[in-house]
């Protein structure tokens, strides 16, 4: 029998069916060159200090887990480095991503020491992203400075109304959790501007500067479990401290904090709360409102107000197990696809086509539906 041979010439890297579906990627990192970023710093005094030999965002002097990656810190650029809109378009095309939601990706900014310098970098990042992405028609997550809620509100009011600002981007970390009342003005500004709050893992905290993290020596522990621990802590803190009773329209997306922990939180929060809810009334927001209980069962806030990016998916191999886990994790309501381009845990949208766990509805909710429900696009 004559053999049929065909050379594969295509530049596409994911299944053909992915190109037929609408795909929104909620975590696409841009990495401006430092001198191009700093050109946007408005305050000359801050600029002078940001351009010393220390660099604009120095890393604290500890080993981190990047030595677990074949190419070390190069893992942050495993796929390349997007500086401008055309770079994002080129990368998205091969992955069948229709709408990448880009962010400035300066994930070590949160832990920098000096509040004035941090704010200057944040201002510069937002202006760089407006010029090179939002103004070029690319949906952008503006940076929100967690360390300075007053300045965060100022930045939201300055930037959120610009065209193609689709979301706000900040970080979860082992320090003040987002349920703290100091963030209420930020939540109010986000709701007023109809922006979801994307909370990404903070590069500064992997694993440095947390008690358990400091004793994590492997990549698997650090990126696999240190971030999810704090992701869960932040989500539970926001729910139990009444953030979503005060701001029912606030949507929060956890990025790179894991997603398969939903069944654990879902059932455990409800069990504990329903058993002993008496302390809810003495949390600060409830003290103000005079309410005794949460307005809803904790897991209902999880379903309605919290979203989780899926990268890396780590899907069970068995389709039956995967389908059950998706169901228990409320994936149809909570999961949003993210690629994390260009990092070492890149997640092209393959799972949705290679596993029988996804029916059309679940695939559509994760790849675009849930994102469109909350993004300002």
């Amino acid at each position: 029998m004559e053999s049929s041979v065909r050379r594969l010439e295509s530049d596409t890297e994911v299944p053909d069916q992915a190109f037929e579906d609408e795909i929104i990627d909620l975590d696409f990192h841009v990495n401006p060159l430092e001198d191009e970023l700093l050109a946007y710093v408005e305050d000359d005094r801050a600029l002078d200090k940001l351009t010393t030999e220390y660099g604009a965002t120095p890393i604290m002097g500890k080993w981190d887990a990047a030595y677990g990656i074949k190419e070390g810190q190069e893992g942050l650029f495993t796929q390349g480095r997007a500086k401008y809109a055309e770079d994002v378009a080129e990368a998205s095309e091969t992955l069948a991503v229709d709408e990448p939601i880009v962010n400035a990706g300066i994930n070590n900014l949160n832990l920098q020491h000096h509040p004035v310098l941090k704010n200057s970098v944040c201002q510069a990042a937002n202006d760089y992203m407006l010029d090179h992405f939002a103004d070029e028609g690319v949906y952008t997550s503006m940076m929100v400075p967690k360390w300075d809620p007053d300045y965060a509100v100022e930045e939201i009011e300055r930037v959120a109304g610009e065209d193609n600002i689709a979301a706000a981007y900040s970080w979860f970390d082992p320090k003040v959790p987002w349920g703290n009342e100091q963030f209420d003005p930020v939540f109010e500004a986000l709701v007023e501007n109809d922006l979801p709050l994307l909370l990404h893992g903070s590069l500064s905290y992997w694993p440095q500067h947390s008690y358990v993290g400091d004793d994590m020596l492997t990549w698997t522990e650090v990126l696999g479990f240190d971030w999810p621990v704090y992701a869960m802590v932040n989500v539970v803190n926001m729910i139990m401290r009444g953030v979503f009773d005060k701001f029912p329209d606030l949507d929060v997306v956890i990025q790179e904090g894991g997603h398969w922990w939903v069944p654990f939180l879902r059932y455990r929060m409800d069990e504990f709360y329903e058993m002993h809810p008496d302390d809810i009334q003495i949390t600060p927001r409830k003290m103000d409102s005079g309410e005794k209980y949460l307005e809803r069962t904790p897991s209902e806030y999880l379903r309605d107000n919290i979203y989780l990016c899926t990268q890396p998916f780590a899907l069970p191999r068995g389709a039956g197990d995967a389908e059950n886990l998706l169901d228990l994790s409320m994936a149809d309501d909570m999961f949003i696809y993210s690629s994390d381009w260009p990092h070492q845990t890149l997640d092209p949208p393959t799972w949705f086509y290679t596993s029988r766990a996804f029916d059309d509805h679940t695939r559509e909710r994760i790849l675009s539906g849930n994102a469109k429900d909350i993004l300002n696009i």
Binding site: L8, E13, G80
Partner: protein, 121 residues
């Protein structure tokens, strides 16, 4: 001289540069053929982890001049391995094994006959 009933011609010597690979679909099966300089190796074109196309290993990164290495994964001609372009899983071209996980992907006999590169699928 090889038995041409078993082997299929995929390319000619010179078509696949040293340290690179090309992908072919032979009777519906996707394989990648890599040139290590000394030998040609044929292996499944799909990484078992997430089905990344292995023949893309070694492709230049976007704005590689602003990163520390130029390529996405790549072929190690001395170790006779290919690193996946997505997550750098390292596959032995001869055995198809990924050492850390013990997983294997398919390998196929690959020979040069005269000037032809032939694969037994």
């Amino acid at each position: 001289m090889v038995d041409n009933d078993d082997f299929t011609k995929v390319a000619e010597v010179g078509d696949i540069p040293k340290g690179e690979g090309e992908a072919f679909e032979i009777n519906g099966i996707e394989i990648a053929v890599f040139n290590t300089g000394d030998e040609y190796y044929a292996i499944s074109n799909r990484c078992s982890h997430q089905r990344a196309p292995l023949h893309k290993a070694g492709d230049e990164k976007i704005n590689s001049e602003d990163t520390w290495t130029d390529e996405r994964g790549g072929v190690d001609t001395e170790a006779c391995t290919v690193s996946c372009p997505w997550h750098l899983w390292e596959w032995d071209l001869e055995t198809g094994e990924h050492e850390a996980s013990g997983q294997c992907i398919g390998t196929f006999d690959c020979v040069v006959d005269d000037n032809d590169i032939l694969v037994d699928v």
